[in-house]
């Protein structure tokens, strides 16, 4: 009988284990080896990655298993706490729904048919396709998009080595307009706010208590507890609004509010003239620009009574210089949102709150301290980890989004991030040239970028789509190759700089061995892929231990010390404010050659004449029966990243559409009703949440729900995918535009 040989051979063949198909995991061992494997309880300090805030954390490990994630008790910035998402990391690590082996698509795109393959097969497949595209269209026809992260440098290294200029981060969908404003005003974006010591905080949509960054929550809460006033401009009553004074501003008019503030401060002499004179340039043009931006005018624009605007401005200015207007985070609301962020920064300059307690400061990485003789001794900068590298080929074409080109509108787009919304446009329209391959690392364009269906349509024109992630994301589902990355609890990453008022570097390190043995860390994936592609010499480090040792060497901090503590900060250094002792001290932002902060930006003026100083754009407001559609973050989820994580999904599996009770009554909609939301040609089903907590002309939902990949079983089909309804429009600074869509609602 055939089977007798087939199975018997495997059972009674040579050796003690079974060698057949996937068998052979179990091997005979003696008890001695087993005893050596006993592992006791330990704590491993590392860095959280459940969102991009990168808090320090401590993993409790028992018998090789993470049983709990806590804050790092030695880190005063978080007071040893992690948020709900941080704790829930354990359930991501041990989730059976994670992807476990590389996969190659076997059916049509979008049918979800894959086979599992070895890493070598996956690399070969990608390398062959990349070569084909390179030969047919040039290396620039391959675009790279990733969520910004210390390790996405390895991913970008592939682009650099093949000579594609088209690398993008997710930031255009989130904080980019702020980045542009910082770069144009200060010459660099590494600027932060000292919330904890502020006596008055105004935020334009920044939702500290739902878009959580632990140390910032701690800072703002400290300020509020010390009696600071918190004013929250938001069309929706967020948790942050609940902790302060809610100013339900009309959508897309925030710039009017800030111009009126400036108008009042100038008229009533409520600004810091010395500071403006010594540290800034172009103030006269700002005076001119806000001359007619009176509180009366702003009342008409924003819907906020002029008395309120005046009251807020006077009280705020009275706390000079220890008060700040927060520059915002997820703010790609309008095409020219960067101008609103610029105006906010200018108000801060008028407050003279630069480098003083309760104001803005240059993040104090070791490099920033070097010119200050009394501070330089506290920390030495870290170095690079790559080792020797051949010269990278010079891209023969410019970027598809024109980012960073002086004298053109592209100057507004931060080159490190790019206008990621241009990728699907270039795929579909082949302008300025066609994109044929798209490599995606830990980013999910289908949900994170606007106009989901257009993104999917663009996928269909690609010769190659590769996604590397921990889950079968909505983008992975459409990909040709899916690469399973291990989680942040199972890998090393380059040194993470989290400096604030004192330098701070952090380590992300494996707290347990790989749970699923055939997943890999990003550094290894791209190093091996690089080798397969013949560009291995761009990765001349043996492993991450070597990489990290190289990085740490110039800083004088031992790798073992980092492994033991998880982070390093100079122990005896006090928070350093450049103007802390002397308000006239030279305190230039670190990358600004002239030492002046640009109220008027020559760079912008040169690129877009007339825009060197913020100019108000009057955007349309929703008409009868229409609502402005806005979205936001919630404390238990991160962007589009955590909705399938077991414990977090359990806490919040779905979202609903917030609609004001008066507006809902007019439409005959009751709380909990099924509704259809329409925006142009797109429709989405959802459930209404009828509430007082939103403007009558606005509707809102939390972002990241309504997932379309059946591979995300818990999140699949639950709730509203906001981005299905928003057209893909690219803003002036490369941002996606999130809050210019008007929707109609009907009951079903």
């Amino acid at each position: 009988m055939r089977r007798r040989q087939f199975l018997k051979g495997a059972l009674y063949g040579t050796g003690s284990m079974i060698a057949l198909g996937g068998c052979g995991s179990l091997t005979k061992v003696d008890q001695k080896t087993l005893a050596a494997n006993q592992i006791a309880e330990k704590t491993v300090y590392s860095t959280c990655e459940m969102c991009t805030s990168r808090c320090t954390m401590a993993a409790k490990v028992r018998d090789g298993k993470v049983i709990k994630i806590e804050g790092n008790p030695n880190d005063s910035s978080t007071a040893g706490t992690v948020c709900a998402r941080g704790s829930a990391g354990v359930s991501l690590l041990y989730d059976p729904q994670r992807i476990k082996k590389p996969m190659i698509r076997t059916g049509e795109r979008g049918t979800g048919k894959f086979k599992e393959v070895s890493w070598d097969e996956a690399y070969t497949f990608i390398a062959d396709k990349v070569t084909q595209i390179q030969q047919n269209y040039g290396p620039e026809a391959i675009a790279f998009a990733s969520r910004i992260n210390p390790q996405d440098a390895f991913f970008r290294q592939i682009a650099k080595a093949i000579g594609s200029p088209n690398t993008f981060s997710h930031e255009a969908t989130c904080p980019m307009t702020k980045t542009t404003a910082l770069e144009m005003t200060f010459g660099n974006p590494w600027i932060a706010a000292d919330y904890g010591n502020a006596k008055y905080i105004i935020t334009s949509g920044r939702n500290f208590f739902e878009g959580i960054h632990v140390s910032m929550v701690k800072g703002v809460m400290k300020a509020v507890q010390n009696g600071a006033k918190l004013v929250v401009l938001d069309p929706r009553f967020s948790v942050t609004a609940a902790k302060g004074e809610w100013v339900p501003i009309k959508g897309a008019t925030d710039l009017a509010f800030f111009m009126a503030m400036a108008n009042i401060m100038i008229k009533e002499n409520l600004y810091d003239k010395d500071f403006i004179e010594n540290y800034t340039e172009g103030f006269d043009k700002w005076v001119e620009a806000v001359k007619d931006k009176t509180p009366e005018w702003a009342e008409k624009e924003t819907g906020i009574p002029k008395e309120k605007i005046i009251e807020i401005t006077r009280d705020f200015a009275a706390k000079r210089p220890n008060a700040l207007v927060e520059f915002g985070w997820r703010t790609p609301w309008t095409p020219n949102d960067y101008q609103c962020r610029r105006a906010i920064l200018i108000i801060n300059l008028m407050m003279g709150n630069w480098e003083v307690p309760g104001g803005y400061y240059q993040k104090k990485g070791a490099g920033v301290l070097q010119p200050f003789p009394d501070q330089a001794g506290y920390a030495k900068p870290t170095g690079g980890g790559y080792g020797p590298m051949p010269p990278a080929p010079k891209p023969s074409k410019g970027r598809i989004d024109g980012a960073g080109v002086k004298g053109t509108p592209g100057i507004l787009i931060p080159v490190a991030d790019g206008a990621v919304g241009q990728i699907p446009e270039s795929i579909l329209t082949e302008k300025p040239y066609a994109i044929k391959g798209w490599l995606v690392h830990r980013f999910n364009p289908v949900i994170s970028m606007t106009e989901s269906e257009r993104i999917i349509e663009s996928f269909k024109k690609l010769d190659l789509l590769v996604t590397c992630d921990v889950y079968m994301t909505d983008t992975a589902y459409y990909s040709d190759v899916v690469l399973p990355e291990c989680t942040y609890l199972e890998r090393y990453e380059p040194i993470i700089d989290q400096s604030g008022l004192i330098p701070k570097i952090q380590l992300r390190q494996p707290v347990v061995p790989l749970v699923y043995p055939d997943t890999k860390p990003a550094w290894l994936i791209y190093k091996e892929l690089g080798q397969k592609m013949g560009i291995g010499d761009f990765f001349s480090f043996k492993d991450m231990e070597e990489f990290l040792e190289r990085q740490l060497k110039p800083s004088g901090i031992a790798f073992d010390q980092m492994k033991e503590k998880g982070f390093w900060s100079p122990a005896d250094m006090k928070p350093f404010y450049m103007r802390g002792k002397d308000p006239k001290a030279p305190a230039a932002p670190s990358l600004n050659e002239k030492g002046k902060m640009h109220i008027f930006s020559h760079e912008i003026e040169e690129a877009i004449p007339g825009q060197g100083i913020p100019v108000y754009t009057k955007y349309p407001q929703p008409g009868e029966g229409e609502f402005r559609f806005v979205q936001g973050k919630v404390a238990v989820h991160t962007n589009a990243g955590t909705h399938n994580v077991p414990v977090l999904n359990e806490l919040m599996p779905t979202n609903s559409l917030w609609i004001n009770s008066v507006s809902a009554t007019k439409l005959g909609i009751k709380d909990g009703d099924n509704i259809v939301i329409t925006a142009g040609k797109y429709e989405h089903k959802g459930v209404a949440k009828v509430t007082e907590a939103i403007r009558p002309d606005t509707v809102f939902c939390y972002h990241g729900f309504g997932r379309i990949s059946p591979g995300l079983k818990r999140a699949y089909g639950k709730g509203i995918n906001d981005n299905k309804l928003i057209p893909n429009a690219i803003g002036e600074s490369g941002n996606v535009v999130t809050s210019m869509t008007f929707v109609k609602i009907r009951k079903v």
């Binding site: 354990v90 948790v239 809610w246 907590a693």
Partner: protein
């Protein structure tokens, strides 16, 4: 003096982030879909645009006069020497009398152990080692405090001395040891 452990919730500082909820789950191996504590929203109350919204952490109130202890036929529910109400899993027969008796709906049947479960103030697992409970240690808003309120030097006692505190459903005469401070709530 004997110890009396208590938890203090400063409602104004709670942001409803559920870090406590999740930390508790992992610390105490609370099964899928079950919770010893949660922090639901109270509100928004009022009419647009004059609204209020706050969050109130819910868990066992650690009653001095605990109805759950009184009705337990097997003495599985008991109060220990430090004023903490606990459940002895081995003695619990799952009769659910305590669940009916508790005015705060703090108890549930643990799907894994089959015994009744509830907040333990992390007594054995953390407080015994000199740590604060898991929820208190990870509170992102900084709303939670814990300690022996019979020791006037404890952080918990200091908070009670400084602010007016309330307990839930005082009319039941349960004398809870979880205190809520509403100072600063809008």
């Amino acid at each position: 003096m004997a110890k009396q452990y208590a938890m203090i919730v400063q409602v104004a500082k709670c942001i409803g982030c559920q870090a406590c909820t999740v930390a508790c789950k992992f610390q105490n191996e609370v099964p899928d879909g079950q919770y010893r504590t949660k922090t639901p929203a109270i509100g928004p109350k009022g009419t647009y645009p004059n609204l209020s919204l706050f969050f109130e952490k819910e868990a066992c109130q650690m009653c001095k006069n605990a109805p759950c202890v009184k009705v337990c036929p097997t003495r599985a529910s008991y109060k220990n020497e430090d004023g903490v109400v606990l459940v002895d899993v081995d003695k619990c027969v799952g009769c659910k009398y305590c669940m009916t008796a508790c005015p705060y709906d703090a108890r549930f049947t643990n799907a894994k152990t089959g015994a009744v479960d509830k907040c333990s103030f992390c007594y054995e697992i953390r407080v015994g080692n000199g740590q604060k409970p898991a929820c208190v240690s990870t509170c992102v808003g900084g709303a939670l405090e814990f300690g022996n309120i019979n020791d006037s030097n404890s952080d918990a006692a200091k908070l009670l001395a400084k602010y007016k505190a309330q307990v839930r459903k005082p009319e039941f005469g349960t004398i809870p040891n979880v205190y809520y401070i509403y100072e600063g709530v809008k």
